[in-house]
Symmetry: C2
Subunit: 146 residues, 2 copies
Amino acid sequence: MSDSQKFPVAAHALAYLAHKDAMSADRAVASGELAASMPTNPVVVRRVTAMLAKAGLIATRAGAGGGAWLLKNPQEIRLDTVLRAVNGCAHLGAPPPGVKGCPVGERIPDAVRAAITAADAAAAERLSLISVADLLVDPQAAGKAA
Amino acid sequence: MSDSQKFPVAAHALAYLAHKDAMSADRAVASGELAASMPTNPVVVRRVTAMLAKAGLIATRAGAGGGAWLLKNPQEIRLDTVLRAVNGCAHLGAPPPGVKGCPVGERIPDAVRAAITAADAAAAERLSLISVADLLVDPQAAGKAA
DNA sequence: AGAAACTGTATCGGTATCAGTTACGTATGG
DNA sequence: CCATACGTAACTGATACCGATACAGTTTCT
């Protein structure tokens, strides 16, 4: 999998909630409002917020006046957590299975897989340096965060 | 774009060429042989080797006895170069365009884009520590390379 | 109680991408 | 001349995604 917009949508939604100070049920933001700021469809937003809720980053409530709000401070929500919450990864592809019997054909896929895993971990580690709060201060802050 | 197998195929092909000591035209390896070691289709291999040739990593020659061979030593071919040669990237998705007029809705996409770019760069940097030669020594070497 | 707002989820259609295959023109070597 | 092999185009089937509609269940307000 992966040219998914889930991660960008999730990051945007969390930043929006942080900006709106949605830290409790009485300040919940509806999916329609979040969707309007992307812009995208409210259903797309709800598909993502449902995953974020399962990951414990936000809470949601149905019914009039319902919506989503943050369960943690924006400074404490790291983007690698967000990425994992929406099942995203820095997918570079999976190695082909390799061929039995050929000693080199058998081992290369494992080595390639190890390289991909290492790159994936490096991307996640970089994202762990960025918090949702960093997304609000200025467009360059996220890239500079260290 | 991007759950592509291009990067794994490219890495596998280069490692195979290195293993076969294909360092000159007279040791060229045909796409059929490369494909057989993945296994995949020869055309899939040629689509990738054509890109690697354009990037100057290998050379290819048509006709009987033709095929692909390396233009650089396996130790000198870094995996980030390979990834760029096949137009791959650690795709985490692209931010939605954002909404004009809303100050927060306008800036968040830029911040998200900066975060994604940073993660992508981190993945590439990690790959730059791994050479094609590292893929041959042992399956874990690639992950350990530093 | 009834209306209105909102979530979560199922489903469907349209679009895009990819792997694999076949086919063809071109180039190379015997 | 002919077999070999690359590069590329075209087609197919599979897969994934976004967006939209629909609906059941939940919550608030009057």
